[in-house]
Structures are given as structure tokens and as C-alpha cells.
């Protein structure tokens, strides 16, 4: 698969896919999308990058080990459930707030952080599996 065309196209393709995955993640709040599907898109971006350039550059590009990314995601998700203790409501109750960025009102909720956690879990877990499989193939 290491053709010149593929290798040249993949960095643009992968960065577009990751951008799109973040869009899908944030869109998922009120419309179809969300952390799980966003995470899958991002993981496939890493996978095709690995197919084109080998696994080592992907691992370098990800900086953290994929399993650590997944663990961090699970940690963010559980903490987003735990913060409702301060509001006197049960575990996993959605809490809402809003911030203003450039005069635009943006709603922020604990659900959003839960979803980001899901995104990271999926990215980490799937990328970890995909990279391990690609590594084996090369041996």
C-alpha cells in the first residue's frame, strides 16, 4: 500500500478525518453524531495513516500510548458523572451552564464532557487494536 500517491494524500486525508470527527462529536449533542461515531472516524484516520506510513510514525504522532488515551477518556467520563455531587443531584445527572465566546452564547454541559470521554475511549481502544494488527502484519 505504500504507493507514492497514497503516501502523499494520506496526511491531508487523515487530518481532514480528524477534523470531521471532532465536528461529529460536537454535533452529536442535538443531532445525529456523538462521541462513539466521532471516535470511530478518528480511529480510522490513524489506521489509514498507519497503512500508508507504517505504525511507528502514527505512534509518534499520537504522542501518548493509545491505551492511555482510552483510560483518560474513561476517567473524564466518570468524573463528568461525579461532578453532580456538588449540585445535590444523583450520579450522571446532566448539569448545564453557558459561556460567552466572542459574544456568542455556547451551552456547556457535563454531558458534553461525558461524550468527549467516550470519544477518547473509542479512539484509544480502536487505534490500539488497529495499530497492533498492522504491526503484526509487517513482521
Amino acid at each position: 500500500m505504500r504507493t507514492l500517491i497514497f503516501r502523499t494524500a494520506v496526511p491531508y486525508l487523515a487530518s481532514l478525518m480528524i477534523l470531521f470527527s471532532i465536528f461529529v462529536l460536537l454535533r452529536g449533542h442535538n443531532e445525529p453524531g456523538g462521541g462513539f461515531i466521532g471516535g470511530l472516524i478518528a480511529a480510522s484516520a490513524f489506521a489509514i495513516y498507519g497503512i500508508a506510513n507504517g505504525v511507528a510514525p502514527v505512534r509518534r504522532a499520537m504522542h501518548f500510548h493509545p491505551m492511555s488515551i482510552a483510560a483518560a477518556g474513561l476517567l473524564i467520563s466518570s468524573i463528568s458523572g461525579l461532578v453532580s455531587v456538588f449540585a445535590g443531584v444523583p450520579f450522571m445527572t446532566g448539569l448545564w451552564g453557558s459561556i460567552y465566546i466572542l459574544g456568542e452564547k455556547i451551552k456547556i454541559s457535563s454531558i458534553l464532557f461525558f461524550d468527549i470521554g467516550v470519544y477518547l475511549v473509542v479512539v484509544g481502544a480502536i487505534a490500539s487494536i488497529a495499530l497492533a494488527l498492522e504491526e503484526r502484519e509487517r513482521e
Binding site: H29, N30, M67, A72, L74, V89, P90, I106
Partner: protein, 536 residues
């Protein structure tokens, strides 16, 4: 997330608007805490030298959390927290009664012992592959299963603990481990699928998954619903998880392959989750319908089948133990035998019998874990040998270990004054009192006898009998050096608990009876979910 078309719907009628007391958070904390610590350990899994410094205090905190939960439940009765503020039965409820709290507490104690024992037993590569994070995720699954009040959520926690247990089982990636893990994984996946199918049927019948809601609807049912089929499916699935005859073969085939600490943890916890699920679903939910239909002391067909399975399981376990020479395999059969003992109480179904089952479950969690740890230490003394014929003269080498093991052996055989005696007494008494064939109490007693022979054989051969040829002292010295404080502390602590429960069984008796009462007549359980006006 830009909410352009957000319709303003008033959700307050569907929500619980009362503020939640801070103490109610104890219900969810055992699970949330384990997940948080487990993920944290996963992130620092490269720092193998520091992991236990986080894991041991964290597991101690888990023991404190569950102890606090238990004392809360004893004082206030069953308590419920519905996630996300939704009203039951729509929100996922965590409902804790004494049974769940007692088991969660015992599990945490055992897990703490295993965390400490793991310091020496799990090497750096095992830690790198995530021993401690799997341990915490397993505990999240186990605690979640004990505390949840929603039957589909129970399924989810089963999956969580199953996946964590796969990871623990193949921690060394040896050939035997993969072989054991394949059998374990296959049969457990079949059981989980059956559980899911049964849950789907139940949902199809009642349209609800909340256990308290199901209990209410079963109590009001008119006897035309196919409840026995569903109950049978549930029992089959859970019996597989609990490793009862004839679906027990995965347990002796897999429990001797992983690291000792993993076997110890599994033997203590996993099968008991299956027994707990039977108690929760079969005894609490489906007995309501049986009582409504035929309020006699006669035992119904399904319970009769469970009784037969129970007797065969305990006898097969004891006979299997007699036939083994590998000590860890032998212990695996003793776990199976104990499952039979617990199931006979479920089959009888009276307050006394259920109490006996719960007491036995607590005893079995403590004793089986301690026994696996003791067997692992004996193997360390003899250079890693696990065969009875290769382990020799433990009494000579380390008298303390031999003495502790003898106590544990007597406890698992059910001899007084150790913890195994009292639940057995309760079960025999209950089975004689109820109209149940003579073979039930007979097989309990016969199992006790056979188990005594099986463990006495190990002790006489491997512990008591001195080494034939005068082996050089250097090796003995080396073997003794292999045992450290982190080996003895958990073993001695668990043994002290076992002896204390045997000598002062009164408080455990009371807890077991109270939880049996709550299971057989779950009014308080239902009230804690729906409020007192629903139950007439």
C-alpha cells in the same frame, strides 16, 4: 451542540426533584471509585514500581466505602439512587439491600488481600499489562453487579467483570493460560447470551427492567404468563456463571492456569456473583409468583430441578477434589462443591435456607481466596511445584504456613469452630425441616465428609509428612526467603476473619437472616424505589 431547534419541554414531572443526601452517594461510590482508580492505573501502567503504592491505599478506601455503605443500609434499610435524576422505573436504579452491601464489603476485603498479595506475585511485565487496572475494573464490575437494581444493568456489570477477568486470566500469555481462557471465555459468553435472551423475554412480558417494578408486576400476575420458562432461562445462565453441574467444567479447567493471585480473586468473587444473581432474580423476583399461585410448603418443579443440580454439584465437586493431585485444580473443585452448597439453600427457599446460602457465600469468598493464597505460598516454598507429590514437608519448612493452611482446610470442610460449620448447620437444619427428599441433607453431610478426606489427604501428604530424602537446607532457606511480609499479611488477615466468624457467628447470622428476610419479602426493597404508597 448548537441547539438551534431546542423545544422547551417541561421535564420536571419525570424527574426526582428532591435533593439527594450526600450519604446516598455511598451507593454509587464503590463502582465509580473503582473505575476512576482503574483508569488512573491504566494511565500510569508504565510506572510498574509505583503502581501498588496507589492500588493498596485505593483498595483500602474501597473497603471503607463499602463498610460505610453496609452500616448505612443496616441503619436505614434498603436505599435507592436513580441515575440522572429520572424517576424509576425509567432511570437506571442502584438499589442496595443488606445482601448486596454485605457481599460488596466482603468482596472489597478479599480484593484488598489480593492487592497486597499481588505485590510479590505479579512481576513487572504483569503490571505493565495492567494487572492492577484490571483488578480495579473487575471490582467495579463485581460491586456494580451487587449493587444495581436494574436487570439489564446487572447484565452490563457481568460483561464488565467478564472482560476484566479475560485480561487477568491471560496475564502471562502462556500456552496453558490461553487454553484455560478459551474454555472460560466460551462458556461464559454462552451464559451471558442466555442471560441477555432471558432479559429480553422478561422485558417483552413486563415492559420494564427495574427489579422492584418487575417484582411488583410478578406479584400481581395471574399465572398465565410464561414465567417459569423465563425463570428457567435465568437460572440456567446464572448456574453456568456459578459453575454448577453439568456446566462446571470451565472452572477446574481454567482456574489453575493464571497467576495465584488471579486464581484467588476469581475463586473468591466470580462464582459468587452468579450465586448472587440467582438469589436476586430467582429468589426475590420469581418466588413471588410461586407464592401467589401455590402457597404451600411443597417444593415446585423448578426448585426441585435446582435441588438436584445442587446435590450433584456438591458431590461432584468433592469427588473431583478427591481425584486431583494438582493442588490448585483440587481447590477449583472445592469451589464448585461450595456452589452446590449455596444452590441447595436457593432450592429450599425458606428464610433459614436462604440465610444459610448467604452465610455460606460470605464464608466461601473469604476461605477460597485464602486457600489459593496459601497454596501459592506452599508452591513458592517448593520451587513453584503445584503437584501434591512434589510439595513436601511444608510443616518442616514453615510451621506457621502449615498451621494456617490446616485451619483453612478445616474451615472449607465445614468443621467447627471455623466459619464453614455454621452455614452448613443452617442448611442441613432447613433441608430437614422442609418437605424435601432425604437425599438433600444426606448429600450435604456426605460432601462435608468427602471434602474432609480430600483436604486431609493434601495436608497429610504435602504438609505433615517430612521430606523423605534429607534435602539440602540451602533450598529450604531459599524457599523461606521467597515468602515475605506481603505474602503473610493478607493470608493471616483473612484467616483471622475466618476464625472470628467461626467463633462469633452471631452478627453474621443476624445479617444473613435479615438479608434473607428482605429477599423473600422485598417490600422494603420496592418501597425504597417507588416510595411507600405504591406497595399496599
Amino acid at each position: 451542540m448548537a441547539g438551534s431547534s431546542e423545544a422547551e419541554i417541561d421535564l420536571t414531572p419525570a424527574m426526582n426533584l428532591e435533593p439527594v443526601p450526600l450519604l446516598d452517594w455511598l451507593i454509587i461510590m464503590p463502582v465509580a471509585w473503582c473505575i476512576v482508580i482503574g483508569t488512573f492505573l491504566l494511565m500510569m501502567r508504565k510506572n510498574t514500581a509505583q503502581q501498588h503504592l496507589v492500588a493498596i491505599p485505593a483498595m483500602a478506601v474501597q473497603v471503607l466505602i463499602t463498610a460505610g455503605l453496609l452500616s448505612q443500609i443496616i441503619i436505614n434499610g434498603p436505599t435507592t439512587m436513580v441515575m440522572g435524576r429520572w424517576l424509576p422505573p425509567f432511570g437506571i436504579a442502584f438499589t442496595v439491600d443488606i445482601l448486596g452491601a454485605v457481599l460488596a464489603f466482603t468482596a472489597a476485603v478479599v480484593a484488598l488481600a489480593c492487592t497486597i498479595y499481588g505485590i510479590k506475585d505479579v512481576n513487572h511485565s504483569g503490571r505493565r499489562y495492567g494487572f492492577y487496572s484490571f483488578l480495579f475494573l473487575l471490582m467495579a464490575g463485581v460491586s456494580g453487579a451487587f449493587l444495581t437494581g436494574d436487570i439489564f444493568n446487572l447484565y452490563v456489570w457481568f460483561e464488565v467483570l467478564l472482560i476484566a477477568s479475560f485480561g487477568l486470566l491471560i496475564l502471562g500469555s502462556e500456552k496453558g493460560q490461553l487454553d484455560g481462557a478459551t474454555k472460560y471465555a466460551f462458556l461464559n459468553l454462552v451464559a451471558t447470551t442466555l442471560f441477555l435472551i432471558a432479559t429480553a423475554y422478561l422485558y417483552g412480558i413486563f415492559g420494564t427492567l427495574n427489579m422492584a417494578d418487575i417484582a411488583l408486576k410478578i406479584a400481581q400476575s395471574d399465572g398465565t404468563l410464561p414465567l417459569n420458562t423465563v425463570a428457567g432461562l435465568f437460572v440456567l445462565a446464572f448456574v453456568m456463571k456459578a459453575a454448577a453441574f453439568p456446566v462446571n467444567f470451565w472452572l477446574p479447567a481454567s482456574y489453575h492456569t493464571p497467576r495465584v493471585v488471579v486464581s484467588a480473586l476469581f475463586a473468591g468473587l466470580l462464582t459468587k456473583v452468579g450465586v448472587y444473581a440467582i438469589l436476586r432474580v430467582y429468589t426475590m423476583l420469581f418466588s413471588l409468583q410461586r407464592e401467589a399461585l401455590e402457597p404451600t410448603v411443597n417444593i415446585d418443579a423448578l426448585s426441585f430441578a435446582v435441588a438436584i443440580v445442587a446435590c450433584l454439584t456438591m458431590l461432584l465437586g468433592a469427588i473431583g477434589a478427591l481425584a486431583q493431585t494438582n493442588v490448585r485444580r483440587l481447590l477449583g473443585f472445592l469451589v464448585v462443591s461450595g456452589i452446590g452448597m449455596m444452590l441447595i439453600g436457593v432450592a429450599i427457599g425458606t428464610r433459614e435456607a436462604i440465610g444459610g446460602t448467604i452465610f455460606y457465600a460470605v464464608h466461601s469468598i473469604l476461605v477460597m481466596t485464602a486457600l489459593y493464597i496459601a497454596a501459592g505460598m506452599a508452591a513458592k516454598l517448593c520451587g513453584g511445584a503445584e503437584d501434591m507429590t512434589k510439595i513436601r514437608g511444608i510443616y518442616q519448612k514453615n510451621t506457621l504456613l502449615a498451621a494456617i493452611t490446616l485451619m483453612l482446610f478445616l474451615a472449607v470442610a465445614g468443621l467447627p469452630p471455623f466459619s464453614g460449620f455454621w452455614p452448613k448447620l443452617m442448611l442441613v437444619k432447613a433441608s430437614i425441616e422442609l418437605i424435601i427428599p432425604w437425599w438433600a441433607p444426606f448429600s450435604i453431610l456426605l460432601t462435608g465428609f468427602l471434602t474432609t478426606i480430600a483436604v486431609a489427604r493434601v495436608w497429610a501428604l504435602s504438609y505433615w509428612k517430612p521430606e523423605d530424602d534429607a534435602e539440602d537446607m540451602a533450598e529450604t532457606e531459599k524457599g523461606n526467603g521467597a515468602l515475605g511480609v506481603s505474602d503473610f499479611v493478607p493470608l493471616i488477615a483473612l484467616t483471622i476473619i475466618v476464625v472470628a466468624v467461626g467463633l462469633f457467628p452471631q452478627s453474621v447470622f443476624e445479617l444473613a437472616y435479615q438479608s434473607a428476610e428482605q429477599l423473600i419479602n422485598p417490600v422494603a426493597y420496592i418501597e425504597s424505589v417507588f416510595g411507600s404508597e405504591v406497595v399496599e
